[in-house]
Symmetry: D2
């Protein structure tokens, strides 16, 4: 049976960057974005940023919009990276701002409960440093773990998924890679903290995403995934499979192989493309991958991998993926 497909709601929002400061399109409300997600047709779940837009939007209105689009909220992502938090959320040098961050996330957690989400996503993109000598790294680490621990202890019925990333918007992030985040999670010592593994973050961070997934799963901490693609130097958030088809395939292969059966979720930023079409295309690629998984000669691949025979393994994979291979 096909996996469930999902998307971050920001996929359907307004994008802004430091050049097109007037946006790659007009502003989009939360309800409009949900309706766009509904137009995709194959999405089952969305990850919602919080606060909603507008901020006084009722949860029930969100809930209704989801229902009429046959969508469910899989997660709430509190926006701990806006102006108030540009010097850090968990790690802000100002204790009052750190408190505000926890407070905003807690609010988001309540909404997550109300919407019946699977997890609260923590994306501490402003938590890190920009310059050599700027920070006491031990202090940043402690602030980060303390903050997440407090949340996880306060909401033991909810799961918290940390989305790690090497950089952007900070030049360097505290939770920068899978291993470092696992170290932190194990230091926190609570069962309801895990990882959201973004394929693109892993890729441009120099990891092999399939291996990163394996590591997180081996410790019982892979709570969710996001997929997209990039040119391996930045978080380009391109359409799934547009550059790294083989490694995307390996990523999904590994998830299946290890019995991980969560949602296949999009985190794309189609800056100059049609958002609904971009989502459909990403899902089409995932469907092609899903079908190709069944065409892999599992035993032969196992044998090739036991022998670490790269050529044999790649031949098996090409045979499953490509349409025009010579016999």
């Amino acid at each position: 049976m096909e996996p469930l497909f999902g998307a971050g709601i920001w996929h359907f929002g307004q994008y802004v960057d430091r050049y097109a400061t007037d946006g790659y399109g007009p502003p989009v409300t939360t309800l409009e974005a949900i309706d766009r997600a509904g137009q995709v047709g194959s999405l089952s779940v969305v990850d919602l940023t919080y606060p909603f837009n507008p901020v006084d939007l009722a949860v029930s209105d969100v809930s209704d919009a989801l229902k009429r689009n046959n969508l469910r909220a899989i997660a709430i992502t509190p926006e701990i990276y806006t102006r108030k938090f540009v010097k850090g959320a968990f790690t802000n040098p100002d204790a009052a701002v750190r408190r505000e961050a926890l407070s905003l996330i807690s609010e988001g957690a309540e909404v997550a409960r109300e919407l019946g989400c699977d997890y609260v996503k923590l994306w501490p993109g402003q938590d890190g440093w920009d310059y050599p000598f700027q920070a006491d790294y031990g202090q940043l680490w402690k602030y980060s773990l303390d903050g997440v621990r407090e949340l996880a202890a306060t909401f033991p019925d909810l799961k918290f998924a940390i989305e790690y990333k090497p950089r952007e918007p900070r030049n360097r992030m505290v939770f920068s890679g899978v291993a470092r985040t696992l170290l932190g999670i194990e230091e926190i010592g609570l069962p309801n903290v895990g990882i959201l593994l973004d394929f693109g973050h892993s890729l441009y961070g120099g990891e092999s995403p399939a291996d990163a997934a394996r590591l997180a799963i081996s410790r019982g901490r892979l709570f969710a995934i996001d997929v997209n693609d990039n040119f391996r130097g930045w978080d380009d958030d391109m359409v799934v499979g547009s550059v790294h088809l083989t490694e995307t395939f390996e990523f999904f292969w590994t998830l299946r192989d290890l019995g991980w059966d969560g949602v296949w979720q999009l985190d794309q930023f189609p800056f100059r493309e049609d958002q609904v079409q971009a989502a459909r295309d990403g899902i089409d690629v995932m469907r092609a991958i899903y079908r190709a998984l069944d065409l892999v000669d599992r035993d032969a691949l196992r044998a090739a991998q036991d022998a670490q025979d790269a050529l044999a393994a790649q031949r098996i994979i090409r045979k499953a993926l490509l349409s025009t291979l010579p016999e």
Copy 2:
């Protein structure tokens, strides 16, 4: 005599990115930004983005603000990278938008004339591509050269400086590096088209900035420079010398060595720092470099470079730069 120092006016504006969509601080008008530039105290010139903010601001008001801050406008940078142009300015697939881009730049050129600027800066950040197979590269190249040629022919009394950059906001830019831009400029075949070399763009594009400067100067096309710093993977626009002190020093050494005597200009984005202080710090670093240039043993360096003796060359440089070297 000390060089003139300058800055892009955006150094003193509001920064926005795709996460802090509400900005790293409140909006800033052109006049406010000019006043901030004036506070730095050591700036002589600024590069002004156009249209002004607000759009109906009179050139005479800008002129007055510059005067009262002891500043001069060295350049106008038309904003050909906002929403209207996200699919390209010179290379937009829509001929009408290409026309609009030329029209906006022409307006900016008139303002540049009025303000007595040295050049119009062209920064075609949206001109490029994001995906494999997206574009006919020959068409993009032709559009780019045709557009710049038309401008340069229309305003033969003005200089046009192309600021190249490997990427951002586009995943790949048409004018991506110094050699490619020179190829294009020579194909255009007009004397009033040259290069603005941004140290950071060169660095993270894999060039040696000093060598890039040499190449542009050798063809008579180095019209202006911007300096800043980064971690060599992205255009971080950090304070000058904060990471790559030696290569920054080499860059300025080469400029002096080849007799290039233009303005030393800042293009920093101190997202989370005080803008005026960041400019002062960047200038302090440039002043330290300027003084250290006089401490270089010129003949010894020449001899070391003729022998391509890296160790000797580096010893000479360290002696000029560092305060605590053992004898």
Copy 3:
């Protein structure tokens, strides 16, 4: 009709690096390497490094070995990167060594004539710099152009193809990218100097290889190509298509589109794999690509590219390449 396939003879030689200093396998003579190339079965041409191994091997013996393997020498690659030339061949600070480099290349050129090669390949991997301040970049540039010009003028009946590369073994190479190499070639001003474009060099140098090919072809300077793959950070010389299938496809698409009909040549280093099998696999991938080229809806792609519609273009391409796309 299928293209001709070729390979650098080093594909079948002994690999060494700074760790496995005893080699990734035993030494291999030129004749043995030719025999291995012959075993591949689909190769028509090879690019031969010179001097041969052993150095006193007769050209006629090489010629015989080629014949019995149904191979032709497409090029001679003089080894201007061994111990004698580690401080540079064309740019060595010692004029006597520069002379030796020209002399070795000239010898190679004579052999190329004798073997009826299409071109002499120049790969100046040791020509560049390692440290900031090490070299006078203008001097390196002049040495490089003077050397190549002298060769091209001396052998007007032969073609010289410069293989550019961003780095390795030098930290920075003089001929680092396509545009820079074209600038140099045009400065040389002779018709028989061109480019060998290595897909992997272009890719990890931050170029879009298809665009680089377009640029070289537009100036009549694309003399030859090499293909392989890498992780975009180093010249990994992996099997063709193992990582960047789409961009490899775009590369070959562009060659066909522009009417370039040279040899499809392998430059792989299967360090830990069977060399003959790796070549066969690389050719299989190229054959799959060759066939898929015919499945591309040319008019639709043209329309998508005119509109710079990335999603449409990628859909067309996926349809040609993948076997399991949903309808």
Copy 4:
């Protein structure tokens, strides 16, 4: 009191790469290399690769050579990356080769005991993968931990320091970064396994080396360090401080701040430079750094870091390092 300075003995050996296969100089025996190390004048310790060259060299001869050069062996580095192990040492698909690797390391450990070394260095450069789908990552991880655990359990009186590295010679290494290696070490669960942190590996792996050191120290696992420099894209092993002076300074600052007082050790590959001079220059830079550490206004830096004030922190640092700063 000044720190002790050390160097890897390979600094003084013959370098080879895949182009200069005849070496960047003639072969060097272990005793010759020790004598070169002795010529440096400021070195106190060396890290010796094992087997010695020639392989039958007596340990007593090595010991004598060290003594006459006033050197001590701080470590033994078993060569588990030569031809026999190109498909892996700990992770070789062939159990017999895995066994041979352990056996060679054990031999090296005995020699380490005999020479009174501080630790055995494990550098599993061939342990990893090159291609997507090549390996079962869980199996590689298990093999790696099992091998190291067995060694550490067998030699409880010795310390084993794993030198992590993102890649080279393998495209991807199992022990790729500080966090991942710490995860592995904690999973091994023995006190005598730790990390050798190579500054350059950390830098080009995307870490902030000072932060990586902090993390390793916080878990009691920083056994040793190596320093050098690079352009942040590859392990260039350049002379210390030649590119990243500020981050090198931050690295040593952090070590002092956290009370880590081990040897300051060189891992440079001066391919085209005089080896003894390169070592002296690296040490000179380290001495300049050592002296500058005392010039840092500690309280002011602490305050700046508590406020995460990058500008203030950088000003403090520049004041300690640079000779020509304006007042």
